[in-house]
């Protein structure tokens, strides 16, 4: 039971009755009570305004307002305290009204067993009150849990839909190059082309290109799932980024030449070496420059520039003279599975994961990546990252 004593307010104008009821209450063996008494509803209301009570026992017949009025007042003030009404026999109507208005119990004064009943009635009323409170708490908890569950459910459904969309788009994107490889091989095996001829070589090149596309796609998917699972580990070393840029340009030159796109990259003397995972940074740069080539029309220019940003960071900017990106899409391009569906530029199928992988890899380097662009005026992709990689920052994140 509750250790401290419970406060009972007794409203009874007959002093003898008051004394008897009080001593009856105090007879309770299950709970300690302290009884405060007053002689009118008005006095009771004053007391209730200033003191906390755990229970009210009130006579019906009182000077001025009566017990039912007190009950009304309690209801209108939304005071939730168990209330027991004392009535005389023949006053059944009052008793019923009291219960209807929320009293927990009524006791008949003329009952000879009254003073034996009182302590039990009081205990019982209080127990019932506690039970009601508990029930309300549980109901509230259940409601809150339901809301949380519904939210989680919605999230799961969204994720499930994302997964289905992903699977259907990827399965198509993977089957297309596979189909080209299959058909290329079939043409050779069926004797329709001879590998020793120019025709045959062209067909084999088609097969090779598509195998590369497939490999790139699968690598993207693997990187993506590693990143999603938080299992991507960086191997940090100190690298000269300018060498990496040179490598990227070298690797993509053939592709760029096909569209007569030229590169602009000026070497900077004494540019600091950066702490990074060279292989992953190369991957990011290749993706950015590769995109620039895709979305820049023939005879365009792609410029790569490096600069220091403050004392401890560097900036790398890949700028192109391509079609540009609409303002509302500048953030979206970095989202997973985002694919440009514009038909003005022919692009080969991809996973739509490239930029989101870049974003994650840059983030793992404690850097940021963002895009600046205007439709029709080219785009700039900017990476900013710290020169030194500190493990402590990792713990902060």
């Amino acid at each position: 039971m509750i250790k401290s004593s419970l406060q009972v307010l007794l409203v009874e104008d007959n002093p003898d009755h008051a004394v008897l009821v009080r001593s009856a209450i105090l007879k309770s063996r299950t709970q300690k009570y302290e009884v405060d008494s007053c002689i009118s509803v008005e006095e009771a209301i004053e007391k209730l305004k200033t003191n906390p009570y755990n229970m009210i026992i009130s006579d019906f017949h009182l000077p001025g307002k009566n017990g039912l009025d007190l009950l009304d007042w309690l209801n209108s003030e939304k005071i939730d305290i168990p209330f027991i009404m004392l009535t005389g026999s023949g006053d059944e109507k009052t008793a019923v009204k009291a219960i209807q208005n929320g009293a927990y119990n009524y006791l008949i004064k003329d009952d000879p067993a009254l003073f034996d009943v009182i302590p039990h009635a009081v205990d019982e009323a209080f127990l019932r009150y506690l039970a009601e409170q508990q029930k309300e708490r549980y109901e509230r908890e259940i409601r809150e849990k339901n809301v949380a569950l519904e939210k989680a459910n919605r999230e799961l459904k969204k994720l499930d839909q994302l997964k289905s969309d992903f699977i259907s788009s990827v399965s198509h994107d993977i089957r297309t190059p596979l189909n080209s490889v299959q058909e290329s091989i079939a043409l050779l095996l069926d004797g329709i082309v001879d590998q020793k001829t120019e025709k045959g070589t062209k067909v084999l090149e088609i097969a090779q290109r598509n195998v590369k596309r497939l490999t790139d796609m699968i690598n993207d998917l693997l990187d993506f799932s590693k990143l999603e699972a938080g299992k991507m580990k960086l191997h940090i070393g100190s690298s000269d980024i300018q060498i990496l840029v040179d490598e990227v340009i070298g690797n993509l030159k053939v592709l760029a030449d096909k569209k007569s796109i030229s590169f602009k990259f000026d070497l900077i003397e004494n540019f600091p070496k950066i702490d990074c995972d060279a292989e992953r940074l190369l991957q990011v740069m290749t993706n950015l420059v590769g995109n620039a080539i895709k979305f820049t029309p023939d005879k365009g220019t792609i410029s790569i520039s490096l600069e220091k940003a403050g004392t401890d960071r560097i900036k790398m900017i890949v700028a192109d003279t391509g079609v540009g990106i609409a303002k509302e899409n500048l953030d979206r391009v970095f989202e997973r599975f985002e694919q440009v569906r514009e038909k003005t530029i022919k692009t080969s199928p991809g996973t739509g994961l490239g930029l989101s992988i870049c974003k994650e890899l840059v983030r793992l380097h404690h850097g940021e990546i963002w895009a600046e662009s205007e439709l029709g005026h080219g785009s700039r992709f900017i990476i900013q990252m710290p020169i030194h990689y500190s493990v402590r920052e990792e713990e902060k994140n």
Binding site: Q161, D165, R341, K343
Partner: protein, 140 residues
């Protein structure tokens, strides 16, 4: 429905008053295009587009072209609603790929019947083609 004239919108909604047609409305081509660009599943695409030849900004024929460039809308039936009914406009609309057209006429009942007929024709035809396709799949 892609229609900028409020009165016409009301007119068309009234003409098509029947419980089983779900009508979504756009004031101009761009907002319709932006909306449908985003859909990720075939089920989310409309079954038919009702298009006004004259729209603010991008004109009807251009809108039609662009809508058919959107994935899941590449073969959507498009019905044009015109006020003038000028032969040259209609010819241009057919060149661009309209499936049918209805001219707004003075008589509301006449307009309502024509519109319903054309729309129901295309919706039913697509439905029966769907059934024929799934039946032939059962055979093969």
């Amino acid at each position: 429905m892609i229609e900028d004239n409020e009165d016409h919108v009301l007119l068309i909604r009234q003409a098509l008053q029947s419980g089983d047609l779900n009508i979504s409305h756009f004031q101009d081509g761009m907002s319709a295009i932006q909306n449908f660009k985003e859909i990720k599943r075939g089920e989310d695409a409309p079954d038919l587009i009702l298009l006004d030849l004259k729209l603010p900004g991008m004109d009807g024929c251009e809108v039609l072209k662009r809508l058919r460039q959107i994935r899941f809308l590449e073969c959507i039936p498009v019905v044009m609603v015109t006020t003038s009914g000028r032969k040259e406009e209609i010819r241009q609309a057919y060149k661009t790929g309209v499936c049918g057209y209805v001219t707004k006429s003075e008589d509301f009942d006449e307009f309502s019947v024509k519109l319903k007929c054309v729309i129901q024709y295309w919706l039913k035809t697509v439905e029966s083609a769907k059934l024929a396709c799934s039946e032939s799949e059962k055979d093969s």
